[in-house]
């Protein structure tokens, strides 16, 4: 389960205030370590909601599936923009698949059934 922070990318949102992943986690699981990088208290507590993944301005956070449930190596990155969220799923053999989900404002056309 859980959340992995790429410490090369994490700049704690470039602010002395509360970084966005720390602010948004519904379980209050994210914190800033002594080296100034974000981390999760315990991945076992994580609900997999990906709030931190999307809100991270440097895409430093990936979500990975627990090997106790499924095949290893699948990862999710995301990026929340104003009207949409962009997603990249890294599949089990390294192939990357992209998705977009509308998030605010005018919805795209969806054909009905």
């Amino acid at each position: 389960m859980g959340i992995f922070v790429d410490e090369e990318r994490c700049n704690r949102c470039g602010t002395a205030d509360e970084p966005m992943c720390v602010r948004d986690c519904p379980g209050d699981l994210m914190f800033i370590k002594e080296n100034g990088k974000a981390a999760i208290v315990d991945n076992r507590e994580c609900w997999d909601c990906a709030a931190c993944v999307k809100v991270c301005p440097t895409q430093a956070i990936t979500m990975q599936l627990p090997t106790s449930l499924v095949v290893r190596g699948v990862q999710l990155r995301g990026r929340a923009m104003k009207h949409k969220t962009e997603w990249r799923i890294r599949l089990r053999d390294g192939e990357v698949k992209g998705y977009e989900t509308p998030s605010t404002g005018k919805p795209p056309f969806v054909p009905s059934l």
């Binding site: 209050d28 507590e45 605010t104």
Partner: protein, 597 residues
Amino acid sequence: MNERECDLLIVGGGAAGCVAAVEAREQAQDLDVVVMEKAHVYRSGCLAAGISAINAFLHEGETPESFLRYVVRDTHGVVRDDLTLTMAAELNAQVRRIEDWGLPIPKDERGRPLRRGRASIKIFGERLKPILGKRAEASGATILNRVNATALAIGDDGRVAGVFGFSTRTGEMLLVRAKCVLICTGGAAGLYRPSNPGVASHRMWYSPFNTGAGLSMGIRGGAEMTSFEFRFIPLRIKDAVAPTGEIAQWLGAQQINARGEPYLEKYYQRLGGRSMTTQDRLYATLLEKRAGRGPCYLDLRGVNPRRLEGTIASYLSMAPSSAMIMSDEAYYARTGGEMAPVEITGGEPHVVGGHGLSGYWIDPQRRTSLPGLWAAGDVAGGSPKKYASGAWAEAVIAVRDMIEAARAVDRSPIDAAQIEAERRRVQRPLREPGSVPPRELEERLQKVMDEYAGGIGQHYAYAEGELALARLHLERIEAEVGALTASTPFELMQCHDVVDRITVARQLVEHMSHRKETRWHCYQERLDFPERDDTRWRVFVNSIRSADGAVRMVERPVERAQIDVQLPPLADGAVIRRRRNRRPSARANSRVPKAPG
């Protein structure tokens, strides 16, 4: 202890709480409104990941009465008609309101929201919670993030006069005094051993951070609670714990057994309906397994791959890890691997009033039995199938009444001894650390509930003998609360999470023991009383805990509004046995794939 005062206090900044704050500020600029939130309103509660559908909406031609008929049938007759009708009358207006706030809702060529089910529409809800949270912030209400509510403060006149909490960052205590309090803290997850073990144990349907705090506060405060025994158990895609509705409703995939036969219709054909009740879809799946025709699946054969990709995008807006699994499996299948079939099974039971019946017993204005306290959303009982939009509707109904009440009363004084006692109770694990980490007690609670109170391991069924053991062990577990230990404010929160869960679990077992029939298969499944008994048990089972911890059970009649509903007979095991020899052909194999949309 830090203190502050306000007119209206909203406890819980989720779906109901955010809308309540905005409604209060729009309707009464002169009132001081405070929201007490455990995490941060941008992503807290069960909407954290988003949702891809609104499941309580009146389509063209539907009315509050037709919605009520659907709910009465689905809950086998025990439902509060007054609550359901008043909620349903508000639904569409509240959905339009949130759409105005920025929620994308796709429409057909005639401008109608896209139909996903009887009362369900498609939305793009990934950003729903930030949309609500930012509106609540902008409303002028004071949002107190990172405050974990712990108890109701009772005023000298007996009214609820405020709420105690502590900062999850500093551990400091806070008392917010108020004229009127709305409780909307959500339901309770984590009472039962979850579907997945160990590191994946929080991969569950409902938010694991919804611990039943508001229910526990009400129980300890002596509020009347209803129908805890109507536990909600979601039918899920196994392991991923993904919702089945997205695939079943949107892609039209059928539930099939291991032989490839769609199995729901053999139940509902006999019942004379076109569909099954929510709990019977789960029960039928269990019966198929028991009859040796399991496991059961959602049939994705013939589903257009492009539509499947659309479903993966939907999952990203609601259950992202399920999207990861599905995307990976679909890719694996395209590149020559064998796609794992989409297996379905039941999750762990929850006490949640937005889906089920359980929660505070409230009146049509959403007043609880405690003066000064209102309830809305998942914490409020009696009116199932309200989901997010019903929580908005209830919040609005409650706030309108609270505004009037707040103008007529003053804040009542709170006795200093009560404040000191709550401070000591809450701070004890931090100030005088014991020896028991909260997780150990949580695991013991979940083990007892699973084994003796109809958890997944017991196929949700139980009898009086098991419940007696559950009662015994829960009493012992509660005796260990005094030994809980915490070294940080975060651990202090975990301690109170488990305390609240134990309180809810004890009340739940009393409810399960009192109803001596089986009304809702799986949700309320008694092995010692396997039949539904409409003459004796078409009543609400309510409970009130007194200050000494004794629980008094009360029965309340079902008062039917002027509607005519034919209740379905129970889908019992006999149905299966009767039909077993008659339907050997597997229709699924010759099923025509759905035309691409």
